[in-house]
């Protein structure tokens, strides 16, 4: 099939508007609540990023709209990527998965070469000309989902098996492990954690044997203990965990982030101080506030209602994604959707959880809300995949 945007049964005689609004049109079959919630999150993200950065002159070079404009631009590009993904369709993409996977592995490898740069202790970026930089691990999250789904669902969707066999699962895990290992070397622990949860979600949804699921969980715990014991973590990573365990440990040092973040959120109360009015935000007491700690701006300036709205909107996105996963007929779509759910859910939980002091600090953006091109593009591509799964669902019925 060449493309999913128009469906063959509607003849070429119909006008484009009619096509769009027709009962079975793509536009009608799109998951609008999903799109709306994601757009609302990106819009709120724009406001919060703006508030957090408008007087951080050392970041904005004096232009208070610098980050707002870029955030809007990123969202626009993200939307275009979503449309492109829907137009191509996840099944078409299925054919390109090996190539995409190969590219993403090369990209994360490139980070380890002199092309890569270090931001906040993580060597996770590739610097591009004109001040742009990309974070390949964000795209790798997608390719891991796709490559695993492709392998695990192939024989099930073909009707050969009820569930993926051990060989297939092992192969899929092996493919996921390659980019994860590379990302681990950067080190970008946060992304590895997300990828691990994605792998778990994918395995669960694929119907792989319980042994794999529990084995993987066990391996995760064992691996974490081993990493801790063998001292593979950098000092800053250990310090973050120590600060998580006891934020009062050194309020001026490692505990500073979490402490200030919690003060910012806690001081918001029910309705917050109002946009641009938060003293913690305008005083720039919370570091990385436009990216990893963007939730604190919502907490302080928009209060429980605003911050709660973000959680509700994320809930809407995840609810729709779960519906799509459940309702699609092919395992491939289900597995892709489940991977995306695992990704969004864990990353959101980790990001918001760390600002609320219930998770250790890890450098992960809040999907749609945080400033950052790579992350924004990746989550919108994921939305595109979800929409595509939904749009194409009835075809197999």
């Amino acid at each position: 099939m060449a493309g999913g945007f128009s469906v063959p049964r509607y003849g070429p005689d119909q006008g484009s508007w009619a096509k769009l609004t027709a009962r079975d049109s793509v536009a009608r079959r799109l998951d609008w609540p999903l799109l709306g919630a994601a757009l609302a999150l990106s819009f709120m993200g724009g406001l919060l990023v703006w508030s957090a950065t408008r007087n951080r002159d050392h970041l904005t070079q004096g232009d208070p709209y610098f980050f707002l404009v870029r955030h809007a631009l990123n969202t626009g590009i993200g939307l275009a990527l979503m449309i492109g993904t829907i137009w191509l369709g996840h099944r078409t993409l299925r054919g390109a998965v090996p190539i995409l996977y190969g590219i993403s592995v090369l990209l994360v490898l490139a980070v380890l070469t002199p092309l890569g740069t270090t931001v906040n202790g993580a060597h996770a970026w590739i610097k591009l000309p004109a001040g742009f930089s990309i974070q390949p691990s964000e795209f790798t999250k997608i390719t891991i989902i796709l490559v695993m789904a492709m392998l695990l669902a192939a024989r099930v969707d073909a009707g050969d098996q009820d569930h993926p066999d051990h060989r297939t699962v092992a192969k899929a895990l092996g493919l996921a492990a390659v980019p994860m290992a590379i990302v681990m070397l950067m080190p970008d622990l946060g992304s590895v954690m997300v990828m691990a949860v994605i792998v778990l979600g994918v395995l669960l949804a694929s119907g792989a044997s319980n042994r794999w699921v529990f084995g993987l969980l066990g391996a995760g715990v064992g691996g974490a203990v081993a990493i801790w014991q063998l001292g593979l973590l950098d000092d800053y990573q250990i310090a973050r965990f120590a600060a998580f365990a006891n934020p009062a440990l050194d309020p001026a040092g490692v505990g500073y982030n979490t402490n200030q973040a919690r003060i910012a959120i806690g001081s918001g109360g029910l309705t917050g101080t109002g946009l641009f009015e938060g003293t913690q935000t305008t005083g720039q007491f919370v570091p990385e506030q436009q990216t990893d700690f963007v939730f604190t701006v919502a907490g302080e300036e928009l209060g429980f209602l605003g911050a709660g709205l973000i959680i509700v909107l994320l809930g809407v996105v995840l609810w729709r994604a779960c519906r799509i996963a459940r309702e699609t007929t092919e395992l491939y779509g289900t597995v892709v959707a489940a991977g995306i759910i695992a990704w969004f859910a864990f990353q959101s939980f980790e990001n918001i959880g760390m600002t609320l002091g219930i998770m250790p600090v890890a450098g992960l953006p809040l999907p749609f809300v945080s400033y950052g091109g790579s992350s924004m593009f990746a989550v919108w591509v994921a939305i595109g995949l979800l929409q595509s799964i939904r749009v194409q669902r009835p075809l197999s019925a």
């Binding site: 569930h163 806690g266 001081s267 109360g269 005083g283 429980f304 959680i311 759910i341 959101s348 959880g353």
Partner: protein, 740 residues
């Protein structure tokens, strides 16, 4: 596994999708719950924390007020020094916590890197000095003795020294005009402690973290006036300390100036002469112990007789108050508080107490008069006084026949007062006191201001002790157990005393009253008490609360609050008796009197001198020399512990102080131009039109070289040697190991 018809998928997948969904939504619920907890449940707490977060206090220390002498000469003021400080908050922002910067700084300042690092660390229970006890947000002084060169280096290479400042800052200076250290009277400063901050928090004058607080002397008594009010500016700042919001500004108010009644020049003379007298007497051999005099400590008080204002107060051993400026080193502190240096921090003018010896006889004479003995009756001055098998010898074991109380003062006749004291004791009922016992000797001592603080405006004055019946009882109760344990019948002298004290130490014995009548035994007095008492005799009977502070002048010079002398009481005798006492004391320096040999050539007709010598026995030590004197305007009391006799040890020094006051030479010729202070300084120093106070220049004291002709004539009367080394007392157990 069966396929689910409508999706074509297995049940396993379907169940797992539901599991995923439940997991996802429980995560979101967790976030929502936590958000509610932080923002709604505990929101107020965090709001308060956020409010305090962005406020930075910048403290501008108030310049501490100066302490001036009566004519405006600064005794303590401030000098500008180059203070190099390090900002801890800045240093901690660096990768190496500022170690590199501090090392470079140590290099420039010529200090050890370790010392600099120690200076900027914060004090806590585990961190010994040196460390910073103040606010971690306050710049921490590394040195206050930077040279201009060093300060320039630091400022010019600012990029090498982030967080380091080199600023001219006002630092306390004890100027020692005319070489008068005035150490113990001025006191010293040290940084405020956490406890004090807490205590003063809600009071009218709370402390700031950066405050220095007066720890002793007038720095302490007048701390509130001198301290001023530090300026506090509260800025709303961002995380980098950049000012964002409204500033609340409380400007600094400089401390007031304290004018004292001290005269720097007289103080210099007093200090020099006291030290000199001690030095001289250390060359002399004590005939009782056969050793050179120890002269371990001493004090002199010069007081305005009519007001109780202190013109000078010196205490030996002393120290340089500048040692405290900029933080005292551990070594210096140990030295100042060690037994070896004999505690130079003590101001012995108000904190040194000893038996009064014969200078107490003015009290005994007054008590006798109150007890009904006429001053000018004749009393037998026998060579000794017997009580049972005990014999109390007179000074020199010499009798003078029947004499008046005035002559008893002149010759310092012990036996007259033994008898009077004993008589009164018998009248009161002896060891079993009558109900209406008058206790004149003890009451009179209290009425002379002894046994309680004079109330001088200096901290930690001691009370002395009047060993009356009540005190005997209390003291016995407190020590009975120890005495009974130690005491042994027929044991050593000390054991025998303890044994007797255990049995009947609560009784005021006959020998107690006899010893007490001449200022011996358990009685203890301080120089300031005796100065106040003698000044009262001088001025016709008014006991003053002595004062050092004379006026508090606001920093702009516009408001002047005078500290007026307060009368604390009246002497308990008639004007007639005071006149009699005065006459008796005058005869002490006239031919035949005990101090006459020290006042050869004194212009007694022009500047009538009254004096009383005292030589007090202290168990286990050499005698304490006392010399109490006054003219119409000034009272001078000097004491030297383990210094021998009053006239011998202190006589020349006291006379030299008078010589300097009145401008007299050794022959008694007055040169008014040389007189430092022929009359007490009444007027306050001149406040100039710009609010500053005019300070006259002072020259250091130049003691006239003593030539043989100038040696005061006369011979010191010899102390008779008694068996047991107790001069003037035989078999008296009164002075015992109970002496403190």
């Amino acid at each position: 596994m069966s396929n689910i018809p409508e999706t074509g998928r297995t049940q396993r997948v379907q169940i797992r999708l539901i599991v995923i969904q439940v997991l996802v939504f429980s995560l979101l619920l967790t976030l929502g719950g936590r958000l509610w907890y932080l923002q709604i449940r505990n929101g107020d707490e965090y709001t308060a924390e956020a409010a305090g977060n962005g406020v930075q206090q910048v403290v501008q220390p108030a310049v501490r007020g100066s302490i001036l002498d009566a004519r405006g000469v600064p005794l303590a003021d401030n000098e500008t020094r180059l203070v190099v400080s390090a900002s801890r908050t800045e240093l901690l922002k660096m990768k190496d916590d500022g170690v590199g910067v501090l090392t470079r700084l140590a290099d420039v300042l010529g200090m050890k890197a370790k010392d600099v690092q120690d200076k900027v660390r914060l004090c806590d229970a585990k961190t010994p000095q040196p460390c910073w006890n103040g606010s971690p947000y306050q710049p921490i002084p590394v040195t206050d003795e930077a040279t201009t060169q060093q300060a320039l280096q630091i400022r010019e290479r600012a990029e090498d020294f982030p967080g380091i400042t080199a600023e001219p800052t006002a630092v306390r200076r004890y100027a020692a005009p005319a070489k008068a250290k005035t150490a113990q009277v001025l006191g010293y400063l040290s940084p405020v402690t956490d406890e004090e901050i807490k205590q003063a928090q809600d009071g009218p004058s709370p402390y700031l973290r950066s405050d220095q607080v007066g720890r002793s002397g007038i720095e302490r008594t007048y701390d509130k006036e001198l301290r001023g009010k530090a300026g506090v500016t509260r800025y709303e700042v961002d995380n980098l300390g950049r000012v964002m919001g409204e500033a609340e500004n409380d400007p600094a108010v400089a401390g007031s100036t304290l004018v004292t009644s001290l005269d720097a020049r007289v103080q210099a003379v007093a200090e020099y002469e006291l030290a000199q007298a001690m030095k001289t007497v250390r060359q002399e051999t004590d005939k009782i112990t056969g050793r050179k005099y120890e002269a371990d400590s001493g004090a002199v008080v010069v007081m305005e007789s009519k007001t109780g204002r202190v013109v000078s107060m010196a205490s030996q051993p002393d120290y340089d108050p500048n040692d405290w400026v900029g933080g005292i080193s551990g070594k210096q502190y140990a030295k100042l508080t060690s037994k070896k240096s004999n505690y130079p921090l003590l101001n012995r003018g108000i904190q040194g107490q000893a038996p009064a010896g014969s200078i107490f006889k003015v009290v005994s004479a007054s008590a006798a008069v109150r007890g009904g003995h006429a001053f000018n009756d004749l009393y037998e001055c026998s060579s000794s006084y017997s009580l049972g098998n005990q014999t109390f010898a007179n000074f020199e074991s010499q009798g003078h026949g029947p004499i008046t109380l005035g002559d008893a003062l002149k010759y310092s006749c012990n036996t007259v007062f033994y008898r009077l004291g004993h008589d009164e004791w018998v009248k009161d009922g002896g060891i079993k006191p009558k109900k209406d016992a008058k206790n004149w000797f003890y009451r009179t001592a209290r009425d002379f201001g002894l046994g309680s603080e004079t109330g001088i405006d200096l901290p930690n004055e001691v009370k002395g002790r009047i060993p009356d019946r009540q005190w005997k009882q209390d003291f016995w109760k407190a020590n009975k157990d120890a005495w009974c344990k130690e005491g042994k019948k027929g044991g050593t002298y000390v054991q025998q005393i303890a044994y007797e004290s255990c049995l009947e130490g609560n009784q005021l014995k006959a020998y107690d009253s006899i010893n007490y009548a001449i200022g011996q035994g358990d009685v203890l007095v301080t120089p300031i008490q005796m100065a106040t008492a003698y000044a009262a005799i001088s001025n016709g009977g008014t006991l003053h609360e002595p004062t050092v502070g004379k006026a508090v002048i606001s920093p702009d010079g516009k408001s002047v609050r005078e500290i007026t002398p307060k009368a604390a009481g009246k002497l308990p005798v008639s004007a007639r008796t005071i006149k009699d006492l005065d006459k008796g004391l005058r005869s002490v320096v006239e031919p035949g009197g005990t101090a006459a040999w020290r006042f050869g050539g004194w212009p007694q007709d022009k500047i009538p001198m009254r004096a009383k010598t005292g030589t007090a026995q202290v168990y286990g030590k050499q005698t304490t020399a006392w010399f109490a004197t006054y003219t119409d305007d000034f009272t001078i009391v000097m004491t030297i512990s383990q210094g021998g006799t009053g006239s011998g040890a202190a006589g020349p020094a006291v006379r030299k102080i008078y010589d300097a006051l009145y401008g007299l030479d050794a022959e008694g010729n007055q040169d008014k131009k040389r007189a430092l202070l022929p009359k007490p300084q009444k007027a306050l120093p001149k406040i100039q039109s710009d609010g500053t106070i005019y300070a006259p220049k002072v020259k250091p004291y130049d003691p006239a070289p003593i030539t043989p002709e100038q040696q005061p004539g006369g011979q010191e009367p010899q102390l008779p040697l008694q068996p047991g080394g107790q001069p003037g007392l035989t078999g008296s157990p009164a002075s015992t190991g109970r002496q403190p």
